[in-house]
Structures are given as structure tokens and as C-alpha cells.
């Protein structure tokens, strides 16, 4: 995992359900610069398919997907595991999503 919680570039979407993790990722992407690397933390099973699909559809690059250990997350035993999705933004190919009411605000 690059960075820890609260670090710039880390989007903590744990506890959020589909489609919120991808919406949070898109919001962070809109604030970040072209070429920046974002790390999404998510425990929603749907993120496993939806984050790679978002990257494909928006032209970003999925660098890695890592299942986080309980120690890395410093969460209580028994809590659902989360994954870290590391994404490099490529904004040249992707249009703004704000015109259609998607989460630009």
C-alpha cells in the first residue's frame, strides 16, 4: 500500500456500497492532476469488477490490486477484509463527467 489513511491520494471507501466507492474515486480523480496515482480502499465485493471497469471506461491505468491484511488496516478482528486499488490517472482521453449529473460536484 502506498501511503496510509489520511494521506493525500488515498480514498477510503471502506464501508461504502456500490456504486459509492467508484463515485468517491471519480470525485478524487477530478481534483487530482493528470498522471497522479490514487489508492482506493474498498471492502465492497462489487469494487473488484467495477474499479477495473471504471479504469477501462475512463482511460485510467489500474496499477495494482492488493488484498490488505488486518494489521495493515488496524481494524478489529473479524471485520471484513478490504482491498487497495492503485490507479494512475490519465485525463487526456477521458471527458468530464459533470455534464450528465454524475459526481462532479
Amino acid at each position: 500500500v502506498t501511503g496510509t489513511l489520511g494521506t493525500p491520494g488515498v480514498v477510503d471507501a471502506r464501508g461504502l456500497r456500490c456504486p459509492m466507492p467508484v463515485i468517491e474515486l471519480q470525485r478524487a480523480a477530478q481534483r487530482a492532476a493528470d498522471g497522479a496515482v490514487l489508492t482506493l480502499l474498498a471492502d465492497d465485493p462489487a469494487a473488484v469488477t467495477d474499479v477495473p471497469a471504471w479504469c477501462r471506461m475512463r482511460g485510467h491505468i489500474l496499477l495494482s490490486v492488493e488484498l490488505l491484511s488486518v494489521e495493515q488496516l488496524s481494524v478489529e478482528q473479524g471485520e471484513q477484509g478490504a482491498s487497495a486499488y492503485q490507479v494512475q490517472l490519465r485525463k487526456s482521453g477521458a471527458g468530464s463527467a459533470s455534464a450528465d449529473g454524475s459526481p462532479a460536484r
Partner: protein, 396 residues
């Protein structure tokens, strides 16, 4: 009993306005309805009995079996009836596995089979067998070479759908059937999504279908097994036919009026299919193109050409599938979704996952026989606004 199938020439009345979920089951076809009403009077008795009413029920059942056999391209004694498409699949898989238990306990299936096939496979695995699931490409097409390579000396049976029920992609059944034949492995084809929707693939050893999907009653499934294929009825023995017509039927007395209705509806849709399928394909082509052009950040799924005529599926970024279904329901449209939030678990549809497709904001549109094109136009007008509202709601 009269000949209710004289009604095949009757123009098909449309399903209820806005009903675009034919793949979950269509309303009863008028030919099926007429046959059902006639059979309730004429075919109510136990077809195993020798008195007049029993013989009349038996004749009706025999005729229904002939109609279904003609639609599937097989012999009447190769057709069995079950209580649902799911039961037909369960009996098909379990019965083929039983027939091949000395060969082995390995099953090969595609990763995008209907859940009833995967559940039947899980039961074999729980009993000590093993299964191999063969993957698909981004369009949902099974890799036929990988499927062939998965067949092994201990493979008891293989399962491949004729076409996918969620995204409409048709599968390379004949190539897979050839590979199976070469190795002597029976192939069960779940044709529930395809029967009554154009030509069926050949080469299958067993085929299953569900009457509700073609406009028959919900309580009728079909399991057809080719002569010479080793299949043994799973579960306790039944005192009804052990060979000949009826040997493949689920245990117990069949619901003759429902079976008669299912067969009449099937004959009617198969007769109308050449014209109707082309009409529906034109409509789904229009939906695919219009959705891609009018809904931003949307992915139209499934193979663009190798697909069923009536199914279109798409996914929208930043939208909840459940919210989108409810929004479309408010606008008068019945559709369904493979998104995780509209399932009983948090998992998205295994089909969408296997394809690597976007699963959020997923909508499946499936056109019933006789759908009014104005319904499709109205859907396409309403959809972009519905997606926009659901996206705005999510970030409020």
C-alpha cells in the same frame, strides 16, 4: 379436444405496456391460454388411467410432447417434462452424472451458466466430484478451445448454455459439442434463453428449457435427452413410464393442462419466429446504438452481433442498479439488473464478473414477443433522464 393451435395465425397481442423483462418470463401466450382452457376441461384426468377421461389426457400429453419435440428437433420419446426449467437442469445434470458415474465425477461448465447449472455442479462437488469452469471474453463468449482442453478422461459431463440469459451472447455450442463428441462426453445445453427465439444449435446430448421464457406457464420445464445417451433418473424410482414417452418426466403425475399450454405457446412462437426475431433484433440494435449515444459513461454489454434477438444489457457508471430499476418502474418500465445492490447478496452477477464488465447501474432489457415498438421508443426517451436522476441522487 379441439385444436387450440389454430390460433397461431392470430396477431400476437402485446405484453402489458412497459413490460421489458421477457427473459424472466413472459405473460401466457394467447395460443397457450386457449390451449390451457381447453385442456382444463378435456385433459384434467390422470393420463396413466385407462378410462375415457384418462385416455383423453394421455392423448393431449402425447400431442404436447410431439409439439415440443418438433420445436427442439428431436423425437417425442426424447422429451421429458419437469416442474420448472430449474428442475429440468437439476435432473439433467444429476441424471447424466449418474449415468456416467463409472467414468468419473468431473464436470466442465462455462463460468456464465445460469445459477441452477452452477448449483447442480456444486452438489456434485459436495458429493466428492470436481468441476472446471471455463471463462469467457469481454463479450461473454466462452473460449471453445479452453472448454475442449478442460475435458479429461474422468469427465462425466459438460454443460454449456445456448446463449447467455443476462447479456444475450450466443455460445459456440456446436464447436464445443464436437469436442465433447470426440471424447465421448455428454453435453447438456441449457437452452432456456433461446427456445422460441430462433434456431437452436445441434450436437447436444441433453437440452433443457423453461416454458415461462417462451410464453408458456411458469410450472413447466423441459428436459430432452437423446436416445443412446446414458441418463438415469435421480431420486427414488417412479411407477410411471420407465421407458418410452414419459420416461424422462419428473416423478409424479404431470400437470397435463399446463404442459399442453406450454406446447401450444411454443408451437405458436416458433411459427412466428422468423419474422418476429428479425423485428426484435432491429429493435435491440436500436436500443444498443441509442443507449451508447445518449447515456454518458455507459457500457453496452454482450456480443454486438452473435446474440439473441431480444436481450440488451448495459451498465452505467456512478449509478445504483436498484435505484435505476425503481426509477424506471416509476416511469412504467419493468426491467431487471445484475448489479450487486439488486441481489440478495452484496455480490454482483457472476456473469458480469466473469466478463469483467461494469456491474453497477446494470439494466437488462428483454423484449417480449409482440412488443410494441412505441414502448421501446418511450423507454429510450425516458432512460437518459432516469440515469441522470439516479446519479444525482447518489451524490446528494
Amino acid at each position: 379436444m379441439g385444436n387450440p393451435v389454430g390460433s397461431t395465425a392470430r396477431p400476437q397481442p402485446p405484453a402489458p405496456a412497459g413490460f421489458l423483462d421477457a427473459a424472466s418470463g413472459e405473460p401466457l401466450h394467447p395460443a397457450g391460454r386457449a390451449a390451457l382452457l381447453a385442456a382444463l376441461d378435456e385433459g384434467w384426468a390422470d393420463p396413466a388411467r385407462l378410462y375415457g377421461a384418462g385416455r383423453r389426457a394421455r392423448l393431449a400429453l402425447d400431442r404436447a410432447r410431439e409439439q415440443v419435440a418438433a420445436a427442439l428437433g428431436c423425437r417425442p420419446d426424447e422429451v421429458g417434462f419437469a416442474g420448472s426449467g430449474t428442475e429440468a437442469v437439476h435432473r439433467g445434470v444429476a441424471g447424466l452424472a449418474l449415468g456416467r458415474r463409472r467414468v468419473g465425477t468431473h464436470l466442465v461448465a462455462s463460468a456464465v451458466e445460469h445459477s441452477c447449472v452452477l448449483h447442480a455442479a456444486e452438489l456434485l462437488v459436495a458429493a466428492g466430484g470436481r468441476s472446471t469452469l471455463v471463462g469467457v471474453d469481454q463479450a461473454g463468449v466462452v473460449d471453445d478451445a479452453a472448454f475442449a482442453a478442460a475435458l479429461a478422461p474422468g469427465t462425466a459431463l459438460a454443460c454449456l448454455q445456448s446463449a447467455n440469459h443476462e447479456v444475450g451472447t450466443t455460445q459456440p455450442v456446436e464447436a464445443v459439442a464436437a469436442a465433447c463428441a470426440e471424447q465421448g462426453v455428454p453435453l447438456l445445453v441449457d437452452a432456456a434463453a433461446s427456445v422460441g427465439r430462433g434456431p437452436l444449435p445441434g450436437g447436444w446430448s441433453a437440452l433443457t428449457a423453461s416454458a415461462a421464457k417462451w410464453g408458456g406457464p411458469a410450472g413447466v420445464g423441459v428436459l430432452s435427452v437423446r436416445t443412446g445417451v446414458r441418463w438415469r433418473s435421480p431420486g427414488p424410482a417412479d411407477s410411471r413410464a420407465v421407458s418410452g414417452p414419459g420416461a424422462l418426466d419428473a416423478p409424479g403425475r404431470p400437470d397435463v393442462p399446463a404442459v399442453v399450454a406450454a406446447a401450444a405457446a411454443l408451437e405458436a412462437v416458433v411459427t412466428a419466429a422468423p419474422v418476429e426475431d428479425a423485428r426484435l433484433r432491429g429493435l435491440t440494435d436500436r436500443i444498443r446504438a441509442t443507449v451508447a449515444a445518449t447515456v454518458p459513461d455507459c457500457e453496452v454489454l454482450g456480443h454486438p452481433t452473435d446474440r439473441l434477438p431480444h436481450i440488451v444489457t448495459f451498465s452505467c457508471l456512478y449509478a445504483s442498479g436498484e435505484a435505476l430499476l425503481l426509477e424506471l418502474d416509476r416511469a412504467g418500465f419493468a426491467v431487471t439488473s445484475g448489479s450487486s445492490c439488486s441481489s440478495s447478496t452484496l455480490e454482483p452477477s457472476h456473469v458480469l464478473v466473469a466478463m469483467g464488465a461494469l456491474a453497477q447501474g446494470n439494466v437488462r432489457v428483454s423484449l417480449p414477443h409482440g412488443v410494441d415498438p412505441a414502448d421501446v421508443d418511450r423507454f429510450l426517451q425516458v432512460l437518459p433522464g432516469a440515469v441522470q436522476r439516479v446519479r444525482a441522487e447518489a451524490v446528494r
